[in-house]
């Protein structure tokens, strides 16, 4: 059974790292550590200490995992783009991409939803507007150009 000691102290002389246990009576028990062993021991201490903090839940609430980079609206954008591509041949068949883009942008800007949309063009415009992402003629031209 190990004898209890009052404290542990780390010291070093630039070449050797010492971990010393001091008893209440002042007796010192030093142990020399290789740098690699000191780092490993630090890891073991951290690993043992973290569960004692008992703050895992609090940390996860205070620091929610955030995604780095990327497009947070990628799904909505993909949906909107697909509907714009479907709408283009309906509202401006046979026209150039630039003309289709201007036409769609103008229609979307003027669009006011009706309670019961019957035509496929208006239904698509409603769905595009409901996505909630603003889109202008330049962006529509790029979307149609990506086809």
């Amino acid at each position: 059974m190990p004898e209890p000691a009052a404290r542990a102290v780390v010291s070093d002389d630039d070449s050797t790292i010492w971990l010393t246990a001091y008893t209440a009576a002042g007796e010192a028990v030093p142990v020399a550590l290789q740098p690699a062993r000191a780092v490993a021991l630090a890891g073991e201490l951290i690993e043992a200490a973290v569960p004692k903090l008992n703050v895992t839940d609090k940390l996860s609430v205070a620091c929610p995992v955030k995604t780095r980079g990327g497009d947070p609206y990628s799904d909505q954008r993909r949906t909107r783009d697909a509907k714009i591509r479907t709408l283009a041949p309906l509202v401006a068949p046979g026209k150039s991409i630039e003309q289709q883009a201007r036409d769609i942008a103008g229609r979307l800007a003027r669009y006011r939803p009706m309670p019961d949309e019957a035509s496929p063009e208006r239904r698509l415009m409603q769905e595009i507007v409901e996505v909630g992402l603003p889109v202008g003629a330049d962006r529509i031209r790029k979307i149609l150009g990506e086809q």
């Binding site: 209890p4 542990a8 070093d12 070449s15 028990v29 550590l33 740098p35 000191a38 951290i46």
Partner: protein, 62 residues
């Protein structure tokens, strides 16, 4: 020579037959000091090695 220190799950460190109970903050402090000491020792060792190599190469060129 005292045996290698051992960290136990009840957050104590056994050093040469002595057992030191630690609080989490004491454990983190100890870990920090160990890493600082180890980093310093590694840097000194690398610098010494580089200095020795320089000396050997200089001697070879001479």
């Amino acid at each position: 020579m005292p045996s290698d220190p051992v960290v136990t799950t009840d957050l104590s460190v056994r050093i040469g037959g002595r057992k030191v109970a630690l609080s989490p903050s004491a454990a983190f402090t100890l870990a920090e000091q160990l890493i600082r000491g180890a980093t310093r020792a590694i840097i000194v060792e690398e610098a010494d090695r580089a200095a020795v190599l320089d000396t050997v190469r200089a001697a070879e060129r001479a």
